[in-house]
Amino acid sequence: MTSITTAEPTDLVPGAATPTPGRRRAGGGLGRYLLVRFLLIFPTILILVTTVFVMMRATGDPITAAQGGRLTPEQLAERIHAAGYDRPILVQYLDYLGSILRGDFGTTISDNRPVTEVLTTYGAATLELAFYALVVAFLVGIPLGRIAAARRDRGIDATFRVSAVLVYATPVFFAGMLLKLVFSVWLDWLPVAGRATTGTEIELQRNGAGTGIYLIDAISTGDPAAIQDVLEHAILPAIALGLLTAGVFLRLVRTNVIGTLATGYVEAARSRGVSERRLLRKHAWRPALVPIITVIGLQIALLLAGAVLTETTFEWKGLGFQLVQYLQARDYVAVQGMVALLAVIVALTNFVVDVIAALVDPRIRY
């Protein structure tokens, strides 16, 4: 390393004359970037899955955790032996990696179901909630961010920014509890918890499309009452989870618009006499939106964590709700499997988001 740094000045002096040193030469085209980015998924997943494995094994074997005290030591030892938890840790680790490669994330102890089945059963609910939350975040965060940037440092900007900080400072479960208290208990406008009333759930199971996404199922039954019921149940959780992300979007849009409004080409347009309103609408707006794609990728991780808390608050029977049930049952095989599976999902979505971002913004192709 030392030799490289000392050799640097002679290397770079000719490079300094050309406007683009280093970067263009080292970088490839879009294809190369996508390939590198794709290959990066595997170490990422390996690291996460290993982290989860090591952490969960550090607590001892899952069978003792789940059933310790309820069985005699002999029964316990027998169960541990049957599940293979008495083998050397390295063998268990390789075995674990192998089964993940085959798509097997383990079988839960408490209700004896494959973790992948838990995912397909409850994943739709979490997906639905995350989708609603993103809609709320877009509808609230992006327009307000634009207004805040246009009215920079005035009263309205201050109000929005303080609200954004306030929304960030509010734990999502406390926001959910407040919403419940006000809109469900005091005003009695909306249901307290759950994804639908029991009657609607039975109707959806009988006549629905069976996607697990209740809104689609309700639409497929063609029953307006069912659709209304499903939507009414979704409003409060969507707001609680969506506002958190809306605050992030607001800040991001505001910062980016202010940034693009200060760039050279906007300055040039301004000097040609283009009105401020048109500058914002035609020149500064669209480039400011590109980074949002990237942030959505980061928000997915945040949404998943938020979903665990929101689902618990509203008894929304999705992955997060189920994860907490398994945590309380001390079913660490289920916890390990679900967290590992979520890690894979996060890694894959991040890849997809990066690809989209690279397609939209040529500057990202390193």
């Binding site: 683009t20 080292a26 690291i47 440092d153 980016n256 760039t263 980074p291």
Partner: protein, 370 residues
Amino acid sequence: MTTTVIPERAPLYKRLPVVHQLRSSVGLQRGMLVAGLVLVAIFLLTAAFAPLLAPYGFGQLRADGELFGSQQRPSSDHLLGTTVGGFDVLSRVIWGSRTALTTIVLAVALSIVVGIVLGLLSGYFGGWLDRVLVVIADAIYAFPSLLLAILAAIVISNGQASKWGGIWATAISITVVFVPQYFRVIRAEAVRIKAEAFVESARVVGAGHVRIMTRHVLRNSTRTLPLIVTLNAGEAILTLAGLGFLGFGISPTQAGDWGYDLNKALGDVTSGIWWTSIPPGLAIVLTVLGVSLVGESLNDLADPRLRTRRRAAALAGTVGTTTAVPGGVLAAGAEGVAGVDLLEGADATPLAGPTPEDDAGSRAANGDDA
């Protein structure tokens, strides 16, 4: 720090992190900073004087041999009523500030130490260690922090929480989540600074690696830490509350814990009982709001795009004074892209930028955000 291109030495007290920003702020920004500082001060004072302020103990169930009773409405005996478990709400909220403060201090201190050591080694020496650490930090960073904290809490306390066991478990869980952030920031700064002329000079004079790392690189890479510390302090309280809410809280006989109280209050909400959930919730909100307002203001004052003219700022970037958040996106998200942009701006400047090899490394570091 950010207002002048050529920094002049001011008296020491004026150059202290927060004091400096307070002096250089105006209007709304100053208002936000002052409001944040006031909230933080209230929080600190509450934590410090909890035994004097709280009417009862955090685990106290009876006074004068008489039980408080469960879910009692606010009254003169219990200004904010009692919880479902029969504790005094106001007392638990006040005692909770102690738990929160202890956790923040432990978590931030631990992550700073670990993050700085790893970041310095990684950024300064580069090579395979750097690559491996960057990939690991990125992988952990992309993962939902709460899930990671849950796993860590299982490992450390196995769900059994004594007072210090619970606080340590939470603090270490939060540390696991935070270390990648400090690592990224310090590493990015180290990569940038080690290419500067003064490091080169130190090496020519014959200074060893340790001396260069601690004297020259470390001292110049800690500039953005106050900002990240404030943002992380808020995040730490939220994670503590989230863990408590999910049932990894500290048991009520050991310490006050806002998240635990909210968990127990979840059922009360349905029956219209507001006094068990709103006080601890508001305590969390106001505390996080206070630290975030301070952090937000510091960030704005450090970010040239939000404060000074762009030209002057870009110039200052090459002498290394204005990078807002060099490591990339923080959990809050919004400032990150600005930080990355600035970093790239610095890279594009010849000579001041890192070597091509390190450039590739720093791109990998930012790869997930960019």
